[in-house]
Symmetry: C2
Subunit: 254 residues, 2 copies
């Protein structure tokens, strides 16, 4: 069953890191998953890996599998004819890819780092969804969450200025980072951006130059510190949230 875990047992999020890192150890961690159904699914799963920069599927292509991201970072993007591109999804380990009930991918899926995916053919997966309501329910829950974050993202794209956009992105990454690794060095928070400046720009609806300038500006103003280009230190998370302009006081998960 392994990587399907997040779909089945939300309360297992804490042990997710273990699940993801070590399929073998996982059975010990997650007793709930020991059903025959899942064993059956386990038998039809297979793995695919992609190198950084590789495209998993192109928008419009047939996609006869669903998958769970095991490691690495992938993005969903949409493009206009002239090449303008907008990221519409950022996939981190344990995120779900694909959708039961449709067989063409509506977006480009691209690996931005080296990526490992755990795949299931769509048909057996769908059959199991019918037999095991748990899975459908969990999938609904995950989809509703995604819809919520898509809508927050829309607020960002439509109404925030460049500085707020950058700060928001950093806060989002910090939060997701923290949710997975719980790596928070006493007040000072540090995070690795899994994105190039260009990918950040595509996330935020900006150009890479503007991203770069705003990163420099936030650094000048002491909101962040930079070690290298990708490693960011956040001395004061609340300050960052202020810069993000967000209404909701969404602190870090403890």
């Amino acid at each position: 069953m392994t990587y399907i875990n997040r779909m089945l047992a939300p309360e297992l999020k804490d042990s997710l890191q273990e699940c993801v890192d070590c399929p073998i150890r996982h059975r010990a961690v997650c007793a709930r998953c020991e059903s025959e159904e899942l064993d059956a699914l386990d038998r039809v799963k297979y793995y695919r890996s992609f190198q950084a920069g590789q495209t998993v599927v192109w928008s419009g292509d047939r996609m006869d599998f669903v998958a769970s991201l095991v490691s690495g970072v992938a993005t969903l993007t949409q493009t206009l004819e002239d090449g303008r591109t907008q990221m519409v999804g950022l996939l981190l380990p344990s995120d779900f890819i694909g959708r039961p009930g449709r067989d063409r991918a509506p977006y480009n899926v691209t690996a931005t780092t080296d990526v490992l995916m755990c795949c299931f053919r769509k048909k057996p997966f769908e059959e199991m969804m019918v037999r095991t309501p748990h899975i459908g329910q969990r999938l609904l829950e995950m989809t509703l969450d995604e819809l919520d974050s898509a809508r927050e993202w829309m607020l960002l794209l439509g109404r925030k200025n460049a500085r707020e956009k950058i700060a928001s992105l950093l806060a989002i990454v910090a939060r997701r980072d923290a949710a997975m690794h719980l790596r928070k060095a006493k007040g000072k928070l540090s995070l690795d951006l899994p994105l190039t400046r260009e990918a950040m720009a595509d996330y935020l609806g900006l150009t890479l130059e503007t991203v770069s300038r705003q990163m420099s500006s936030l650094k000048r103003d002491g909101v962040i510190e930079l070690q290298g280009k990708r490693h960011v230190i956040v001395p004061d998370f609340d300050r960052l949230l202020e810069e993000a302009g967000d209404d909701s006081d969404g602190g870090l998960p403890e």
Copy 2:
């Protein structure tokens, strides 16, 4: 059962207009809906109406019901502290409001015209979802569709210019209009905008002045004709789609 129909029977979309307009006639139209479960649900449903401009729920408020929009237009909006607001959902008749499993509304829901909603208390609705997998499946399908349109919307917000945004919105409204009324006067297509210029601006991440200017510009260039402020005639839908800059050749549903 009436308004829950869209959730249960996607193939009934054609008869939706009848369902929505006339609850009484509906039973005749939709044989599939005559189950005991639904009768039970039918017994706990109730109606609420709102006047144009009224707020149905504020973001963060308790929301102990789910609902189906019977008539009128409602919007989901998010705001920043300083009042900048972004529309994140546009609800037309038969759209679903609320989400099982959460009890606080994550957005403002506002009636932009007079609105009638068919409501169900959340608890009995959720119980029925457990007993009737159909409903959960349908809800998943609808949520996935919403996620898709949210993501197209993100492309619009992040990467389209003002003219393309306006053209896209008109195309979207035209499509949804057509899907419901099938009102297409031989080539020439006419539609009523259910939104003020300000609401359009909030949809598109623009100011109302820019919306107004671009409408005028599209009119000057013969892409649209205006009768009054809200009634739009589209002489050539393909031309409009070109202006929208969209890759996908999403014609009108026939």
